[in-house]
């Protein structure tokens, strides 16, 4: 019985984004969609526990949820505008998960990542409505109390409805501008999974997996956009190293990872995607980051890494995005090519004293230069600036090894 329930819940989560998106398109209202989806889940738990999961669970959920939504609208017709309800009751689009349904999810991603919503609300809404994560799970991922996260999501949904934020893929000329917001949300979700900010699980495979799943959908829907392909390439090339990244509760840096533990299928996929980007020849931020990760995953050992290629790619990225964080990553690559003295000089002039990765980079370079006292202080600052248990464990070990 419990196994059956778990199976139903798994199917429900897999189908959730599709279900909500199709209901939002049909009924034009997130609240109605969520409520109807919730009722369909209860119905599924009851029915499927006896008869098993049907062959097309998505279709079953869509029909059941639509019927519940129609019931609700019928009940409310007495006080609402009858005309509007009549419009909702009549639906001639197919219920089956076909091409049109994929478009529903694309529409909903653009709504969730609308620039009129606060950035933290965009991430939360995307995870809630398209990823099917519960409010409690999202609250946990972003280290805020559940009530705070619930308020944030409710407020965003209220704004979508009151301000009439459309469920629509933007017009072609606006897509590049709007797409940036969507890609940023997916990258944020992934990063939160890859290096969780709290002191819970150091790596959250559910979040990295969800970001990749949404990026794959986005790429199927917008195959002509090289930055979408670039983001997917970037995510799979980082994800490929996930299993080798934590050992005995400690973070393992790239040069110490057991490369046999990398996922070859994801690396092959990522390299293919990077080649597709190169052929399109319209470089962008995510494509360049993907290319950098392609270089890393291309070398058999860490010492084989083509650092001049990595630095050249960071130079290209700096021209697009001259931010101190890009400069920090470039400086780390320069240190591999021209030595730690040159790298440290670049790192030291960056205004990143509150960023844990800056302290990590300094600590490592100072250690390599034999400046132990300064290195220890830098490790202490890095440890203080992160809550991630695996990263703290790694940094503490490195600090302990210093004489």
């Amino acid at each position: 019985m419990q196994q059956r329930t778990a199976a139903v819940e798994r199917v429900f989560r897999e189908e959730y984004g599709r279900l909500i998106a199709s209901l939002v398109r049909r009924f034009g209202d997130i609240e109605i969609a969520e409520e109807a989806a919730g009722e369909a889940l209860l119905a599924a738990l009851e029915k499927w526990s006896e008869s098993g999961v049907p062959p097309s669970p998505g279709g079953w959920l869509t029909i059941t949820a639509s019927n519940r939504a129609i019931d609700r609208i019928r009940r409310e017709t007495r006080r609402d505008a009858k005309q509007q309800a009549a419009l909702m009751l009549y639906d001639d689009t197919p219920h089956e998960p076909t091409g049109a349904v994929e478009d529903d999810r694309l529409r909903l991603i653009f709504t969730c990542c609308h620039p009129a919503l606060a950035p933290e609300a965009r991430v939360a809404l995307t995870l809630r409505l398209l990823g099917g994560l519960t409010v409690a799970e999202i609250a946990q991922a972003f280290l805020v109390p559940e009530t705070t996260m619930a308020q944030r999501i409710t407020r965003a949904k209220k704004k979508i409805s009151a301000a009439n934020i459309p469920y629509r893929v933007p017009h072609a000329p606006d897509i590049p501008e709007r797409l940036g917001g969507v890609l940023a949300v997916l990258f944020l979700v992934f990063n939160e999974g890859y290096l969780a900010s709290g002191d819970g699980d150091p790596v959250r495979a559910d979040l990295t997996g969800e970001a990749i799943r949404l990026a794959r959908i986005l790429r199927r829907l917008l195959p002509e956009e090289p930055e979408v392909t670039g983001l997917l390439a970037l995510l799979v090339l980082i994800e490929a190293r996930r299993a080798a990244r934590v050992r005995h509760g400690q973070l393992v840096p790239l040069d110490e990872q057991d490369r046999a533990g990398w996922d070859r299928a994801l690396i092959t996929e990522g390299h293919d995607l990077v080649r597709t980007c190169l052929a399109i020849n319209r470089p962008g931020r995510y494509q360049i980051l993907a290319a950098i990760n392609a270089v890393h995953t291309d070398s058999i050992t860490a010492s084989d890494t083509d650092w001049s290629q990595v630095v050249a790619l960071y130079d290209q990225l700096t021209r697009l995005d001259p931010s101190p964080i890009v400069a920090l990553n470039r400086a780390v690559a320069v240190a591999e090519l021209d030595g730690p003295t040159v790298g440290l000089a670049l790192v030291d002039r960056l205004p990143l004293t509150t960023y844990h990765a800056w302290h990590v980079a300094r600590a490592d370079l100072l250690r390599r230069l034999g400046r132990s006292t300064e290195a220890k202080a830098a490790y202490d600052a890095a440890i203080a600036a992160t809550q991630n248990t695996a990263e703290r464990a790694y940094l503490s070990r490195k600090r302990g090894e210093l004489i």
Binding site: H114, A116, A162, A163, N164, I165, P166, R168, P170
Partner: protein, 120 residues
């Protein structure tokens, strides 16, 4: 269609050229705003619009008590206040935001977009 209030926010203190740096700048902004208003009418988004006198001309009235209490000056004592507004009728927020951007460029001020909860 949704009705939106587009409010222009600018410094509470105005000089002889309103919020603008010079007479030329002020005249250019007025001309651009006039053209924007014409476009709103032509495209069918126009409901109502107007510019406001300086905030110092405002009076706050509290009529909740036995007799109304009057206070000279604006309700909020801030450095930036509403200088003018448009009421538009647009199909969705994307259209309203685009119009707000055009209006902001024309009048050279920041514009807040806020949906109406119905019109009386």
């Amino acid at each position: 269609m949704t009705h939106y209030l587009l409010t222009v926010h600018g410094p509470a203190e105005r000089n002889e050229f309103g919020n603008y740096g010079s007479k030329e700048e002020m005249e250019e902004a007025f001309a651009a705003t006039g053209a924007f208003n014409e476009q709103l009418r032509a495209d069918g988004y126009w409901v109502f619009a107007g510019g406001l006198q300086p905030a110092a001309t405002a009076t706050v009235v509290d009529g909740q008590g036995d007799s109304p209490v009057m206070t000279d000056g604006p309700y909020l004592e801030t450095k930036e206040l509403i200088g003018g507004f448009w009421v538009i009728d647009a199909p969705d927020l994307d259209v309203a935001l685009k119009l707000a951007a055009d209006g902001s460029r024309a009048c050279r001020g920041k514009v807040e977009v806020r949906p109406f909860d119905g019109l009386a």
